[in-house]
Structures are given as C-alpha cells and as structure tokens.
C-alpha cells in the first residue's frame, strides 16, 4: 500500500468518510466529525501507522490534508 493510500485510509477510518473523497480540500472545516477529540485520534493514528512522533506544535497545526502531507514529509514520510 502506498503512503498516500495509507494516509487517506487513516483519514477515512477516523472520520468515517469515503476514502475516495479525501483530497487537498479535506480539512477541519470541511469534515463534519473533525473535532478536538477526533483530531487527537487522528494524530495518534498517524503516529502509529507511520511510526513518527509529532511535536506539540505540529500536533495542533495539522488541520488539513496538505499540511499533514507536508508535516509527514518533514518526518521522512513521502506521500
């Protein structure tokens, strides 16, 4: 499974949306179930699946798909 598909699967799973609908517009504002609690679930899931540890700053800032991709890249994960 490519990293991009993995990432989209995680988002689809956490927010219970169709994996094919995940794109650059996906953000805390566009997804209904994306709140502080599910955001934490998301961060934990990303850390688990990609074996990375986000900083406190990154944790609260990765609120949309492009930012997640960029931040993962900073940890060596290319999507």
């Amino acid at each position: 499974m490519s990293n991009e598909i993995k990432l989209k699967s995680v988002l689809a799973s956490i927010f219970q949306v169709d994996v094919n609908l995940i794109n650059d517009e996906t953000s805390v504002d566009s997804v209904e179930g994306w709140d502080s609690l599910t955001h934490m679930n998301l961060v934990l899931a990303l850390e688990q699946v990609f074996n990375v540890s986000f900083t406190e700053e990154q944790t609260v800032e990765i609120l949309n798909y492009p930012l997640i991709v960029i931040t993962l890249a900073e940890h060596g994960v290319i999507c």
Binding site: S13, M40, N41, L44, Q48, V49, E56, T59
Partner: protein, 612 residues
C-alpha cells in the same frame, strides 16, 4: 439489495482475514466501523460496554471494539463524562445502569485519584502513605459494591504501573515503605479487595507498561494536551489485552496446541539428519519448556508432522536432551498427508472443535495452507530465529484463561488414562460389560462456592453437549445459586481408572408445578458413559421432591450442538412448542416412578457428601 449485502459480507470477511494476518490500527478501525454501521447485515450479536473514566481513552475504543468484532459482536459503547464516575456509579437511576451494560470498563489514572501519592510522594509521611493506600482501597471497595448492587456484569479495570522515575531515585527500592513498594502494595491490596466481589478483572497495566517500557507507553505530550496517557505504541497491546478477557468470558477458549516437529521442536530435519543428527539447542529446550508449561496448565498437546512416524518417535524415545516426552501428547498425526486434513482428524479424535486448535509451524508454506484450508485454526507462524520462538508462543496469550482448577492440572493425565480405558474396552465382550467393568461412580449435588469456578468454566467452554449454550458469568451463576427459585446441579464422575471430576451442569428454574431446565451440559470427554442420563434423572427426582408435576427441557440449536437435538426426545420428553429460537420439550413427572433409580445401571450414584 442482496448484491449489496453480499458485497458487504465479502468485504467484511476480507477485512477479518486481513486483520488476522496483520492486525493494525487501520484493520481495527475498519472492523469497528463496519460493525457500527452494518451489525444486522453482518449478523453480529449486540454487546454493550460501558466506559467509565477519569482520563481520555477514546483512541483505545476502536481497538477494544475491534477485538469484540473479531469474536462476532457488534459493540455498542456508552462512554461516561470525565469525572462522572461517582454520579454514574452511586446513583441507581443513572444513565450507566439504564444502559444495562454487559461489561463495565473502568479507566482511572493514579495521578488523578491521588495526585500526592503519584506525583508528590516525597511529601507524604509514613503514616500518610498507609492512610492514602487505605483510602484508595476503600474507594474501590465502594465502587465495586455499588456496581454489584445494580449489575452482575463483569468489571474490567486497570491496575497502576510503576513510573519510570520515582521520587527518591536509587533510594526508593531500598525500603518496602517507599514509592516503588508502596505502589506494589496498593496494587496487591486492590486485588485482595476485588475478591470480595465476583467478576472483577484487572487489566495488568503494570505488566503492559513493562512490555514496551514506560517511556514508550506513556504519552507525555497527549497527557498534557488532553489527559490521554496511552501512547501510540501502547494502544494495540492494551486493546489486545481486553480481547483476551473477552475471549475467556465468551467461551472462546482454545483447548489444544498442535506442533510441527522439524525446526520447531528441534534444530534440523530428522528425515535427513537422522534421529542422532538433529540438535536440541538451548533455544529449542526453552521452547519445549514453554510447551510443557501449557501441558501443566491443562492444554492438550498434539503433533502434526510430515515425517515417518518411527523417525519422530525415535527422537522422543532416545534423545536425552528432549524436554517433552511422547507421553505429554494426547495424539499425533505423523504422515505425508496435508496438514489441514490432519488437523481436522486431530479435532475429531479429541472430540473438540477445529476452532479450539492452535497450530505452530516454522514453514510459511504449511502455515498458509492451514490458513487457507482450515481457517478456523489459529496459526502461529514461527519467524526469525529459534531464540525468539518461545516469546512468539506466549505473546498471543491464546491459551489464557480466567481460571486454573484441579481439573485443568489433571486434564492431560486423564487423556493418558483414556488409553488405559481403551485397553479395558478391547478386553471386554460388550459395551455394557465394559461399562460395568469401569465401576463408574457419580456424585450429584447442588453447586456451592467450592464447585463454582469449575462449573463456570464448563458453562463458558462447553459447545457440543450443551442444550442451550447460555453463557453465564460467575456473578450470574452466583445469583442462580442464591435464588430459591433456581437450583444449579453438578455431576462428578469417577471410575476405577481415575476421576474425571465435575463433568456436567444443570440449571433448573422452578415455576410452581413446572420445573424448567434452562441449561444442561456435559463435557464431551465424559460422554459414552450415560452420565447425561444420570444427571437428567437426578434432576427430575429433585423436581419431583420440589412438588413439580412437569419438567420442561429447553433446546436452542447452535452450529455445534446438533448431536443433542434428540436428547430430550430420547429421554421420553414430548415436543411442546417453539418459542423464538427455543424448542421446549416436556415430561410428565409420574408420582409412582422412582427417578433416582432410573439412571443407567452401571453408574453407582452417590450424594454430594459421598454417601449412597
């Protein structure tokens, strides 16, 4: 609509398969989400879990939920607010009790229950330490008491890990009154107080944190952001731990460990290297010792190897480095047939389900073959180096159980004795002669605290000779035992070869003139002696003594109990009605029939205190 459901079922089966091969955060979430949206179409049984907590545990819930899904359940989770434990538990009208959960899952962190004990230990005087331990123990005591007043459902909760850094550093471990041992004392006292209540189970967080290290288990970042202590690395092991408890509490306990031989029990291939050429190195001896530990826990052992039988038996007989002996094995299938077929034979011979087997092999080929052709069997594929084999055997906790009784310790001995009985059978002329020659004695009585663990085990584990497959927890059984309208009976069998212990259970409900048999089961290894007929007759006798004129037997067909479909019919009951999934059979209790004497003639019945 059918196509959609079919597609859904296929996707679910695929998800389960994926999960079995390589469980991950994603596979757990997938299963959990599918169960939440399509429980009915996927034919999953509803189960309710109530979560009480003083910390954030939401990331863990899909994993715990996913574990339930693998057992065939669709979990409905009620999650109480932070710090609502008091209001939920101590108020009988609370949402918690209205929800009527099948499980209580309680997560409490010591830092919140007792900030001083946890984060400012050095500020406590010796007296204050003891007082604080007492206060905490007393709090849990009241917690359990209040839950039990309102519900018999099992309670699963965490104990407390030892932090990576304790207040006094190297000094702490030098005294039993400082932080390290005080924490251990607290955990011990909590276990003790929980024994006052039935169905309270501890999730050993202390051990889990130890598994991957405190610093890999506790998430400092999320603790400060959201009071969420569990790190990403702990979520899977912690969730899986709950899975082990759910397995035990739902009768899905594995009964038999089947082992390959070459490069699994020893280094080398006996067919090529010869019985003297294979090596039992330290790694393999350690591995064999773990297998022997399972033997002593009452797990059956079997061999399944592609070899000439004589070669393998020669190793067992002549190699003095072997820790395992052939006598430890209940059966062995050493031949050139495919292993899936052999596993089916093993299950059939031992009279257990294929899904009670765990298969261990170092060969990818054999493991995949079994996964494909005998998917009910749990497969442990030995990977990497033999040094790591014993850990791979232990890590799944696949044989973990919530009881360890005398019957368990003696089970393998009994299988050994079975061989002895087979000799007697060959010697006698007819089955009846053989049965008389065994001098079977049955002890029949009402269940008390002494018999309860074993009876509960039977209720949970027995699948085939089980008329209704109703799974009661120890707490629920206790309620039956204490209720004047119910009787819980057991039957204990022994013969001149050995004692089989308690092998049968019957639960009767008395409704004025009618006695209803709500549960009736027998351990399959005791079949063939007529013990089931004896148990039934004695129960009818008791119903008669109670003043009943009719006795009804309930039968709920399941995938595994078709052999008892005609049991009541064969015992002269007539079919009364079907109520939903329950078949009700009825027998008129004749006032002039002495049911105490109608049992099979070759069984001598003793009462509970051993008298005729």
């Amino acid at each position: 609509m059918d196509i959609i459901v079919n597609d859904l079922l296929n996707r679910f089966q695929y998800a389960l398969k994926e999960h079995a091969q390589m469980p991950s955060f994603i596979t757990y979430n997938q299963l959990y989400n599918m169960a939440r949206t399509s429980a009915h179409e996927l034919k999953l049984k509803a189960v309710k879990a109530a979560v009480l907590r003083n910390i954030t545990v939401e990331p863990l819930l899909p994993i715990i939920g996913g574990e339930m899904v693998t057992l065939g359940f669709a979990p409905e989770i009620y999650i109480a607010d932070f710090d609502a434990i008091h209001t939920e538990v101590f108020n009988p009208q609370s949402g918690l009790y209205k929800f009527s959960p099948d499980y209580f899952l309680i997560f409490q962190w010591l830092e919140i229950l007792s900030p001083r004990f946890s984060s400012a230990f050095v500020s406590l005087s010796a007296n204050e330490i003891n007082l604080e331990i007492s206060r905490l123990v007393s709090y849990f005591d009241r917690l359990f008491f209040n839950i039990r007043v309102n519900s018999p459902s099992p309670i699963l909760l965490n104990n407390f890990p030892i932090p990576d850094f304790t207040t006094l550093g190297i000094l702490d471990a030098q005294s039993e009154n400082l932080q390290t041992y005080s924490l251990l004392q607290l955990n011990r006292d909590l276990v003790k107080v929980s024994h006052k209540y039935s169905g309270v189970y501890w999730i050993d967080t202390l051990k889990l944190f130890n598994l991957i290290g405190y610093q890999n288990s506790f998430d400092e970042k999320f603790w400060h952001i959201a009071k969420a202590p569990f790190s990403k690395n702990l979520l899977l092991p912690l969730g899986r731990e709950f899975g082990k408890f759910f397995r035990c509490l739902n009768g899905k306990v594995k009964k038999c460990l089947v082992l390959d031989c070459d490069n699994t029990l020893w280094e080398g291939i006996v067919g090529e290297d010869g019985a003297k050429g294979i090596k039992i190195t330290s790694s393999f001896q350690a591995f064999q010792q773990e297998v022997l530990n399972f033997y002593n826990r009452g797990i059956l052992l079997a061999l399944c190897s592609k070899n000439n039988e004589a070669d393998v038996l020669e190793v067992f007989r002549d190699n003095s480095d072997m820790v395992l002996k052939i006598e430890h094995f209940a059966t062995w299938y050493i031949n050139w047939h495919d292993k899936a077929a052999n596993l089916k034979q093993i299950a059939s011979q031992l009279n257990i389900g294929l899904d009670s087997l765990v298969f261990v092999d170092d060969s990818v080929f054999e493991c995949n073959l079994v996964r494909e052709h005998a998917p009910e069997v749990v497969v442990i594929e030995l990977k990497k180096y033999p040094s790591f084999y014993r850990k791979q055997l232990l890590s799944l906790g696949i044989f973990d159980s919530l009881s360890f009784t005398e019957e368990d310790k003696k089970r393998n001995e009994m299988y050994f004795f079975e061989g002895h009985r087979k000799e007697l059978l060959e010697a006698s002329h007819s089955v009846d002669d053989y049965l008389f020659s065994l001098q079977i004695k049955a002890k029949f009585g009402v269940v008390t605290d002494f018999e309860l663990p074993r009876v509960c085990q039977l209720i949970q584990k027995t699948n085939q000779f089980n008329l209704t497959s109703r799974r009661y927890s120890e707490g629920e059984l206790r309620l039956f035992v204490g209720d004047h309208n119910y009787d819980v009976f057991y039957i204990n069998i022994s013969d001149k070869v050995s004692s089989l212990g308690i092998v049968g259970v019957g639960i009767v409900c008395y409704k004025q003139r009618v006695a209803v048999i709500n549960s009736f089961l027998l351990s399959c290894r005791s079949l063939g002696r007529g013990a089931e007929n004896a148990l039934l007759c004695l129960m009818i006798n008791e119903a008669k003594a109670h003043g009943c004129t009719e006795i009804w037997g309930e039968y709920i067909p399941s995938k595994k109990n078709s052999q008892v479909a005609e049991f009541y019919k064969n015992n002269n009951f007539w079919f009364r009605a079907t109520e939903g999934e329950v078949e009700v059979w009825s027998l008129v209790i004749e006032s002039d029939t002495c049911y105490k004497d109608v049992h099979p003639k070759w069984i001598q019945v003793l009462s509970a205190n051993g008298v005729l």
